[in-house]
Symmetry: none
Subunit: 185 residues, 4 copies
Amino acid sequence: MQARQRILDAAQVLFALRGFDATSTKGIAQEAGVPQGLVFYYFANKEKILEDLVRERSFLPEMEQILRAAPEVRAKEALHELGRRFLAVVTRREAIARILVRESPNHPQVAERWRQMRESAIGIIGSYLEGAVERGHLHASRPETIARIFLYNLIFAALIDETLDAEQYLNNVVETMLEGITDSP
Amino acid sequence: MQARQRILDAAQVLFALRGFDATSTKGIAQEAGVPQGLVFYYFANKEKILEDLVRERSFLPEMEQILRAAPEVRAKEALHELGRRFLAVVTRREAIARILVRESPNHPQVAERWRQMRESAIGIIGSYLEGAVERGHLHASRPETIARIFLYNLIFAALIDETLDAEQYLNNVVETMLEGITDSP
Amino acid sequence: MQARQRILDAAQVLFALRGFDATSTKGIAQEAGVPQGLVFYYFANKEKILEDLVRERSFLPEMEQILRAAPEVRAKEALHELGRRFLAVVTRREAIARILVRESPNHPQVAERWRQMRESAIGIIGSYLEGAVERGHLHASRPETIARIFLYNLIFAALIDETLDAEQYLNNVVETMLEGITDSP
Amino acid sequence: MQARQRILDAAQVLFALRGFDATSTKGIAQEAGVPQGLVFYYFANKEKILEDLVRERSFLPEMEQILRAAPEVRAKEALHELGRRFLAVVTRREAIARILVRESPNHPQVAERWRQMRESAIGIIGSYLEGAVERGHLHASRPETIARIFLYNLIFAALIDETLDAEQYLNNVVETMLEGITDSP
DNA sequence: TATGAATGAGCTTTCATTCAT
DNA sequence: AATGAATGAAAGCTCATTCAT
C-alpha cells in the first residue's frame, strides 16, 4: 500500500514537470522505484493514475480551511492576508496545482475539480468581502466579482505567468484594487 | 506551397483540440489531406510545425493594431471597447490562442511568444490608461497594474475558465474596476 | 475443497466461451469468486487447470452408460434413440464438449481424451448395429463405418455447425441412412 | 506490396500451426522477415490479418470449380471422384482450411466464410446427386442430406480426426453409403 | 517536388506465476 | 490452507522519422 503512494508521488512530480502525455508509466515506475507491472496493479490505466491523484490529493479542504481562518481585520490587510494564504497553499501544493491547470483541457474530471476549487475560493473570499461591506469596513457593490478578479490574478501570477513575482504582484493588486479607478465625471 | 498551409491549418486545429503530444503527424497529414511524407518535406520535425505555427500565425500584429485603434472616449467606454476588441481578436484566432496557452509549459519558444503578446497588450492598454489619467479622464495611480489585472481576467475568461461567459464577465469587470473598492477609514 | 470445484466451474465456462488462450487465470478467479492466488494453490499452472478439467469432468462414463442402455428395438427406432441420447449427453455437458473440440489442436491430452470418447461411442453404436445385423433386424456390411458416419454427423451438428438444428438433422440422417442410396445397375 | 503477401504467408502458417491467440504479431513479422512495425502498416490490427487472410485466400472459388468439373459417371465413381477432389483441395489449402475450422468459434467473420464454403460444397454435391437421380443412375430421396452427410465426414476425416486416413476412410464411406442400411421388415 | 513504404524504439497494458505472510 | 502484493516478460500497437524513387 506504500507502493501505491510512491507511484502517486512519482506521477505527481512527473505530470507537473512534463505533462500527462509526455510522462510514461515506465518513467513513473522508475521514479517510484517499483516494477512496471505494479503500476497497473494499483491503477487500471494511466488515466486512472491522474484521476486518483487529483481526487485524493486536491487541496480543496486545506485551501478552504486556511482561507476561512482569515482574520477579521481591515479590508486591506485582510485581502493581503487572504492572498498570501492562497499563494502559500498553492506553493505548498504546487505540483498538484500545476497538474490541475495543465491537464484540465484534456481531462474533464480534472477540469471539474479545478473549477470546484476556484469557485470555492471565490465563494470564501466573496463572503469575506460581503461581511466587510456589511460591517462597513468596505465599499463594494459586487463582492463576488471582486473576489473573482482577485483570485484569477493570483492564479495567473502563481501558475501561469512564470515571469511574475507572485508575492510582489499580490501587493500591487491589493493596493490597486483598493485605490480603485475612478471614471472622472 | 498550398500544401504547407494546409498542414499548418490541420496542425492548428488538432493542436488546439487535443494538444501537441496527443496529435500525430499522421493525423495532421490526414486532416490536411496530404501524404504523410509531405509533412516532413516541409517541416524538419513535429516540433518545427508548432514553432512555425506560432511564428507565422501568432496574432500579435493584428492584436496590436486593433487595440491601438481604440477610440479616445471616456474611460469606462474605452475599457469596454478595449476589452471587447481583445475578446474579438482572441475569438477570431481562438485555435492559436489556445495553443499558446496549452503548449507554453512544454515549449519555451511558445511561452516566449505568448509572453510577448501579453506584455504588448498590457503595454498598449497601460498607455491608454496613462493617457486618460493625463487628460484627467481617470484617477489611477498604477495604470500598468490595472492593465495587467484587466488583461489577465480577460484571458482567464476567454481561454481558461470555460464556464464563464466572457462578454458578460467583461462588463462586470469593467464596472467593478471603475467603481472600485474603497477601504473605509 | 469447494474452492477447487468453483475454480473448475469457472474455467469450464470461460474455456468453452472464449477458449483457453483468451481466458486469464485472473478471470477464472473472479468468475469463481476466489482470490487470485488460490488458483495456483490448487493447480500448478494454467495448463493443469485444463488437464484436470477434462480428466475429472469428461463425460465418458456417463455417455457409455446412457448409450449402452439403448433399448433393443427395430433398427430405425434404435438409431433414433441412440442419436437422441448422444445429443442429450452432449447438451447436458456442452461446455466440456466444446472445450474438447476447441482445445484438441493445442493440447495433446485433450485430443487424446476426445478421441477416446469418439471411439468409445463408435464402438458401442457399432456393437449395437452388429447385434442388430446378427439378429436379422438390419442389413449392413460395415457396421463400424456406419456408426462412425452417424456419430461424426451428430458431433458436427451439435458442436461445429451452429446453423443446424441438431434434433431435426438427426431425424434426416437416420431416415436417409436407412433408406440408403442405391447405385442403379 | 510483396511484404504484405509475406506477412499473410507467415500468418497463415502460424495461425494454422498454433492458433490465432498463440501467435504473436512479432512472430509473424519474424517468420515473414519484415520489421515488426510493417505488420501494422498493412493491417490495422491483428484481427484484421486474420480477416484479410480468409477473405483473400479462402479457397471457395477453387473448390467450386474443381467440384463442378466432376465427370458424369456412375454414382459410385462420381462420389469417389467428388470426395477425392474435395480432399485434394483441402490438402492443397490445408493451412487455410485448418484456420477456418479452428478460429470459427472466436471470429464470426471466419465462421461465416467457413459456413459459406460448406454450404456451397453441399449445394454442388447435392445438385450432382439430384442430376444422377433424374438420370436414373441413383435412388435417393434426400440428395441434399446425403451430400451433407458425405461432406461432414470428409471434413471430419481431413481436418478434425487426426487418427483417420482420409483417403481410405473416403472409400469406406462411399461404399457404405451406396450399400446402405436396410431396416428389415 | 512529392510520396508511400519502411523502420525500430517506445508506449500502455496484460499476464502467468511467485512469494511472504 | 489461503491471500494479495509483487514481478518482469511479452503482448499489441503507435509513432516520429527516414528514404528510395
